[in-house]
């Protein structure tokens, strides 16, 4: 028994020094899960390295980088988190790009009627019992929703009847399950709702009413142990293959 254990320990010790295929870790916002999983294989071929995806809320991913987690590239769903890392010198500013854009939509159940204009939007929000949004304190989609409604003077009308979800997906779920008649989510969430047609886009908010545009910045993390491969990954994400996949998922590519 003891000798077997010794062999195991020895093997483990040796294994640590064997050359392994280079690996780079991409920390990406949870809302990018599907499209990035589709891009994993072509990205690995392009970079010549294994790409490990670490998926979570942008705020959590930022904290991990701040505490020195081994991350090579950060792909955030909000400028705020990237700005904070940049201020602390934890990302390489020259590699930072606003890669994707998104827009806000009002969704309802499959039988709901689309809203043609701003006036009808007010009437609909007035009559709705509940409006599902992400929590404006913590969820970017909720923050944008509050900003858009405030810009049109509609926030006070709905503030007291908002159901505040812990993620934009949860807000979508509120509408899908019929718990809320209407909700505000990103366009990409509405188009990836399963089963298709379980929610209907009733209204699209123009991006101009937001003071901060909805963008997804990407950048190489300063502490990366493989800068060359990390920069290659960012180049891949800006390239044509990735662009097609992002457009197909409903993102805009500025």
């Amino acid at each position: 028994m003891k000798s077997r254990l010794a062999v195991l320990v020895l093997l483990l010790a040796v294994a640590r020094f064997l050359p392994a295929a280079p690996e780079i870790t991409l920390s990406a916002a949870a809302s990018l899960t599907n499209v990035l999983q589709d891009l994993e294989a072509p990205a690995e071929a392009y970079c010549g390295a294994r790409v490990l995806l670490n998926l979570g809320a942008s705020g959590t991913l930022r904290r991990q980088i701040e505490e020195g987690a081994p991350v090579d590239v950060f792909f955030s769903a909000a400028r705020l988190d990237m700005d904070q890392l940049q201020k602390k010198g934890l990302i390489v500013p020259q590699t930072r790009v606003d890669l994707l854009g998104n827009s806000l939509v009002l969704v309802g159940g499959p039988e709901a009627r689309p809203v043609p204009g701003k006036g009808d939007l007010q009437a609909l929000l007035q009559s709705a019992s509940v409006l599902a949004i992400g929590d404006p304190e913590a969820v970017p989609a909720g923050r944008y929703a509050k900003e858009a409604l405030s810009a049109w003077g509609l926030w006070d009308l709905v503030a007291s009847k908002t159901a505040r979800a812990a993620s934009v997906r949860e807000a979508l779920q509120f509408v899908q399950s019929g718990s809320a008649p209407v909700g505000i989510v990103f366009k990409t969430d509405a188009s990836s709702a399963v089963p298709a047609g379980s929610v209907k886009v009733l209204f699209s908010f123009p991006n101009e009413i937001l003071s901060t545009p909805i963008v997804y910045p990407v950048a190489v993390v300063s502490a990366t142990s493989n800068r060359a491969a990390a920069e290659k990954l960012v180049r891949f994400l800006r390239g044509d293959t990735a662009r097609q996949a992002f457009l197909a998922a409903g993102f805009t590519v500025p």
């Binding site: 949870a30 670490n54 998926l55 505490e67």
Partner: protein, 225 residues
Amino acid sequence: MSVAAPILLSLKVAAVATVLTFLVGLGLARIFATRRVPLRGVWEGLLLLPLVFPPTITGYLLLVLLGRRGLLGGLLAQAGLQVVFTWSAAVIASFIVSLPLMYQNCKAALRSVEPQYAGAARTLGVSEGRIFRRITLPIAAPGILAGTALSFARALGEFGATLMTAGNIPGRTQTIPLAIYTAVEGGRSRDANILLGVTVVISFVLVAVVGWAERRMFFPGKDAK
């Protein structure tokens, strides 16, 4: 996404974490149940914290401690060891959050053993270690078993602290709860439902195993005589 990888990983993490929890929880319970420990309230309070803290907070503190810039993580990094973003981080997270459950159950179980039995053995010159193994432990076994089952269940369901310290890397640190979270965020309800079903099955198997072990303890059949 493969659903097999998170299942195997979850079982591995929960199993290793439960072994650690069992050894440390039982050891601490033995010390606290039988000896006078200075500042006992402080230690017990600290031990209970992971049960009171939201797991995200526990995870955040672990991340601060184990990260490359952290106190312990810095030392480990010098030794060439990386804990954050590996499955050992998931084990540590599960261990920390399930330890209070194991400790409390073991302490209650050890306390419930009548001291006369040990006293009688002592008059016959039996060593303390042997008294613990042959008298106290068998009598306290049902409570210890319950603590172990609770710890395993808690480790299996661990989400917040794991997400923070081990990350959510498919095939490497993505356990069942993290895979369900990712599947729901990505709108893949089929994967989420499969994993949910697997979790339910594992829970029932766990209940069945614990039930079987309890029956063996309380009603040892003919074979055990």
